[in-house]
Symmetry: none
Subunit: 277 residues, 2 copies
Amino acid sequence: MSKKQLIMEKALELFAKQGFEATSVQQITDHCGISKGAFYLSFKSKDELIFSLIDYFMTQLISDIDYKVKNTQNNELLFTYFYTTFQTFSQHSDFAKVLMKEQAQTFHNQELIEKMYMYDRLVDKATLSMVERLYGEEIINTKYDLVYCIKGLMGNYSKLMLFSNVPLDLKLLSESLVEKINLLAEHATIAFISEDFIRSMEQPALKEVTNEQLLEMLTQKIEEMEESIEKESLILLKQHLLDPSLNLAIVKGLIENIRNHPHCKWISYLLLSYFNF
Amino acid sequence: MSKKQLIMEKALELFAKQGFEATSVQQITDHCGISKGAFYLSFKSKDELIFSLIDYFMTQLISDIDYKVKNTQNNELLFTYFYTTFQTFSQHSDFAKVLMKEQAQTFHNQELIEKMYMYDRLVDKATLSMVERLYGEEIINTKYDLVYCIKGLMGNYSKLMLFSNVPLDLKLLSESLVEKINLLAEHATIAFISEDFIRSMEQPALKEVTNEQLLEMLTQKIEEMEESIEKESLILLKQHLLDPSLNLAIVKGLIENIRNHPHCKWISYLLLSYFNF
DNA sequence: TATAATAATGACTAATCGGTCAATTGTCAA
DNA sequence: TTGACAATTGACCGATTAGTCATTATTATA
């Protein structure tokens, strides 16, 4: 096992017990049996560690569920969705606990909040497409409510599973939720969440960012980074913000250059919205 | 406004935005326009502040809902339960946000965790008694699941209300949840949470309150309060506890007098249960 | 075996935290 | 105006944090 994996594994145990903020780097390295310096050979910061953990598990979680859902017949679909999710949560209960504890609102790192929000929306999207496939046009008015009900029930029962120390019958649990969601899908008539509401919620998510703020962030990022294509792209973007002279296609390309760099995700996101791409 | 109230008010704003742990005492005192020392004249510690906030709002919340539920006809009961809760959350949105952020698992103070757990169980208990009253013997197998569904749906929709900056139609929301819960109560057959399961998780809830405890609380409240009908009522209630001599109807009326005073919600709740009203 | 390259260490720094307390300011009766 | 008392202040304390880096240990190579 690589040192990076060791740290991620041991840190996850502590995060699940105590939470992210409450766990110190020293505790993590003690628990791994390594020195503090060794930690910083694997991760640039404590934030990068939680980033890695969230990315590692969330991509797995989402792709797992997505695959199962895409390869299951409709008559078993809802059950598979619940059962797979609960099983995955049960299997990676430490990560699931971290996920429950550190809801989007508790982190202080803006990039991290954005990341959690992004994954949350991805899960919502997958759930919505499942609901649409299952019930079609019948639930066109209530489909968003149905998604929220699934989310609410799953969240609450997951909490029960994770934090009560009683072993649960996940098949029975999944069956009982299938019954409930089917009931709601077939008989509920009052729609609370409309498409307009969903759209009006998405809007304020990206708050207008100013030229000055972007310049400040770019300057800071450029200082931080080592020589690379990404750094060169940042420098060119900064110059363009100071004195617009580049073709829009070139600007888009420069943003694309930095989009996948782990430390540039947020700034590229802001740049994209600033230039209305 | 007393200094204590000022601090509680201003601190709550910061806690709602940043969370409890992430807000420093210095930030609170800056936001109040007082010195750090002055903070510690009003509160023994930062923990005592969050204790006060949680007690102040939770006692109000629980006794409010409990009273409404006890004094509403069955045909309006579920709607009233939802609507009152959402309205209270909306009215005290800063506290509701703190409540959502600092779920039982995030605090580090053991007493605080226990307190949150205790209030959580009180809410569950109130919800359960409502469910039993509404659906009687029909849902004897599924009543605990029903309570958990109510909790899950309410929690998820509350999150929507608090953290999306879109004004919501709380009446429509409550109606839609009434429809959903009625559907589940009438048609759901698969029980997942059994009485045994609940018992295996159970810990002592609200202990029976003693005459002495009530007297102590009354004495303290009487000292705190300014001259008013409410204070006079408290004094009479104290005398009645020391030497029972009043007609039960009078006692009920005296409790009614204090029920809506923000500082007497909890004591009135305890008195009501002490006298079996 | 000798040497260069790499990995790992832990004492250290600067910042921030909750909490304290000697010193200062404000109040009011004499 | 004075002086006793209460209220208020903010510099300061010890503890803890994330993160650094000169030093040491280990490994690979010649």
